[in-house]
C-alpha cells in the first residue's frame, strides 16, 4: 500500500451521510469542495490564518484546511450550507444580509460558522466576546463593524437555530 494508498472514510455533512475514498494527502477542505461539491468553505491562506475554511466538526469550530480528510473519518460536519439556504436563511445569515456585513462574500461562510460556534457556546456574548470569537477570521472588505453588529443583533435576539 506504501505510496498510492486510498482510504475509505464515512462522514456526515449537513446531516447527510457520505462514504467516500480519499487520498491521505487531501485535506478535509479539498474533499468537501472537490469531491462532495460543498463549496461554502473557502480556501484562502491554507495555513490556519484566515478562517475562510471554518466549519463545525463534532460541534467545534475548526479550520478544514488544517485537517486531513482521512483524519476526519467518522465525524459529523456542518458547513454554511447546513445552516440555511437562499429561501430559508438562518437568523445569523439573515442578520449578515440585514447589517450589510457581506461585500465580496469570500470570508462570509467562515465568518458565519465561527460566529455560529460562538453563539452556540456563549449565547449572550459581549462585543468583546464577539471580537475575540472572530479573531481567527479575516475580512478584507467590510472593516468588521457590520459583521460584529450582525452577530450581536442575533445574540440579543436569542432565537438562533442551532444545528
Amino acid at each position: 500500500m506504501e505510496n498510492q494508498a486510498i482510504y475509505s472514510i464515512s462522514l456526515i455533512v449537513n446531516q447527510k451521510p457520505y462514504s467516500i475514498k480519499v487520498l491521505p494527502e487531501h485535506t478535509l477542505l479539498d474533499v468537501l469542495r472537490d469531491q462532495l461539491d460543498i463549496t461554502g468553505p473557502k480556501e484562502c491562506c491554507g495555513v490556519g490564518e484566515c478562517g475562510a475554511c471554518t466549519i463545525l466538526m463534532n460541534g467545534k469550530a475548526v479550520n478544514a484546511c488544517l485537517i486531513l480528510a482521512v483524519e476526519a473519518d467518522g465525524s459529523n460536519l456542518v458547513t454554511i450550507e447546513g445552516l440555511g439556504g437562499k429561501d430559508n436563511l438562518s437568523p445569523l445569515q439573515q442578520a449578515f444580509v440585514d447589517a450589510g456585513a457581506v461585500q465580496c462574500g469570500f470570508c462570509t461562510p467562515g465568518m458565519i460558522m465561527a460566529a455560529q460556534y460562538l453563539i452556540n457556546t456563549n449565547p449572550n456574548p459581549t462585543e468583546e466576546d464577539v471580537r475575540l470569537g472572530l479573531e481567527g477570521n479575516l475580512c478584507r472588505c467590510t472593516g468588521y463593524s457590520r459583521i460584529i453588529q450582525a452577530v450581536l443583533s442575533v445574540a440579543q435576539n436569542k432565537e438562533h437555530n442551532v444545528p
Binding site: 505510496n3 482510504y7 491521505p24 490556519g48 469550530a61 479550520n63
Partner: protein, 286 residues
C-alpha cells in the same frame, strides 16, 4: 503535499510497533495545526504519518490528584483555557493558552504538540516553566520524566529520542504563597506568533521569577531573590532598573516581528506589567 501512509493505532503497543517500523521517516499527528502547515510547505515530507488521536492510553484530560496535576498529551488548548482547575490553580497557564492562535486552532492544537514543536515562541512554554512542569516521555523502552527546561533543547529541538513521544505533562500544585501572571506582545491579537511572551511569578518570601519566551533560542527563567521586586517600599524606577538588569540575560534576535532592540526594551515594560498583575493576585490571596 507529498503523499504518505496514514496510520491510526488504537493502543500504545501498536503505536510502538508502527514507530519501530517507520522510524526515522515518520511524523506523529495530534491536532495537526502545525504539522499540516509544514507538510504543505514541504518542510516535512515523511513517508508515514501516525495519527495518535485514537490511542486509548494517550487520551486528553486533566487530572488533579494528590500534589500534582496531570495534563494528557492530547488535551487541546480550548479545553485547557476553560478548565476550572487550570483557571483557579494555574491562571497564568490559562492566560497563555488562551493566546494561542484562534479558537479554530485552539479547538485542535494539543499541548504536547505545542511543546514538541519547541518553537522559541510557543506560548504555553513560559507558563509551564513557571509552574515547574515535568514532561513524561514514553517509548517501547519505557517511561522517563524530564523537567521542561531539559525537554526543550533548542529552536525546534526537544530531548525526545526518535522513537519517543510525550505521554503527559505533570505540574506540581503551586505553593499557597505564590501568584503568577502571563503577558504577551504581538503585532496582532489572534493567530500571530508572540513577539515576546512572558510569565511572572512572585511569592511571599520575596522571590520573583520571570519565564521568557521568544527572546532566546529556548524559553528560560530569570530570578530575583532579594525581595526588591516584591517590596512595597522600593520605587517604581528602581524596580524598572532591576527588571531591566534581569532581562539582560535575554538574547533576542531581529526578525519580521520586531528588532532585537525593541524586544529588549519591551521586556522591561512587559516584565513590569506582569509583575504588577502577579503582585495584585498575591495580595488577593493573602
Amino acid at each position: 503535499m507529498r503523499t504518505f501512509s496514514y496510520l491510526r493505532p488504537t493502543n500504545l503497543s501498536t503505536l510502538f510497533a508502527m514507530i519501530q517500523k517507520s522510524a526515522p521517516d515518520y511524523r506523529l499527528l495530534a491536532g495537526g495545526t502545525d504539522l499540516l502547515v509544514r507538510l504543505k510547505s514541504g518542510k516535512f515530507s515523511p513517508n508515514t504519518i501516525i495519527d495518535i488521536k485514537g490511542v486509548t492510553e494517550l487520551q486528553s484530560g486533566i487530572n488533579m490528584e494528590g500534589s500534582t496535576l496531570t495534563i494528557g498529551a492530547l488535551t487541546n488548548m480550548a479545553t485547557l483555557e476553560s478548565e476550572k482547575s487550570i483557571l483557579e490553580t494555574y491562571p497564568a497557564l490559562a492566560e497563555a493558552v488562551h493566546n494561542v492562535g484562534s479558537i479554530q486552532i485552539r479547538n485542535r492544537a494539543s499541548i504536547a504538540g505545542n511543546l514538541c514543536n519547541a518553537s522559541p515562541a510557543a506560548d504555553s512554554a513560559p507558563a509551564l516553566l513557571i509552574y515547574d512542569a515535568r514532561v513524561t516521555c514514553i517509548s517501547a523502552r519505557g517511561e522517563r520524566q524530564l523537567p521542561l527546561a531539559e525537554f526543550i533543547v533548542g529552536p525546534g529541538k526537544t530531548a525526545l529520542a526518535v522513537d519517543e513521544l510525550v505521554k503527559e505533562i505533570i505540574l506540581p500544585i503551586p505553593a499557597a504563597n505564590q501568584a503568577a501572571a502571563f503577558t504577551r506582545l504581538t503585532r496582532r491579537k489572534g493567530v500571530d506568533l508572540a513577539t515576546i511572551s512572558l510569565c511572572c511569578q512572585v511569592n511571599t518570601s520575596g522571590i520573583t521569577r520571570f519565564a521568557l519566551g521568544a527572546v532566546g533560542p529556548v524559553p528560560f527563567i530569570v530570578e530575583e531573590k532579594e525581595g526588591i521586586l516584591t517590596s512595597g517600599t522600593v520605587s517604581l524606577e528602581d524596580k524598572k532598573a532591576c527588571i531591566s538588569e534581569l532581562m539582560e540575560k535575554a538574547t533576542p534576535i531581529s526578525d519580521v516581528r520586531a528588532s532585537k532592540e525593541y524586544r529588549q526594551a519591551m521586556l522591561t515594560v512587559l516584565g513590569l506589567r506582569a509583575l504588577s498583575t502577579a503582585l495584585e493576585r498575591l495580595k488577593a490571596i493573602q
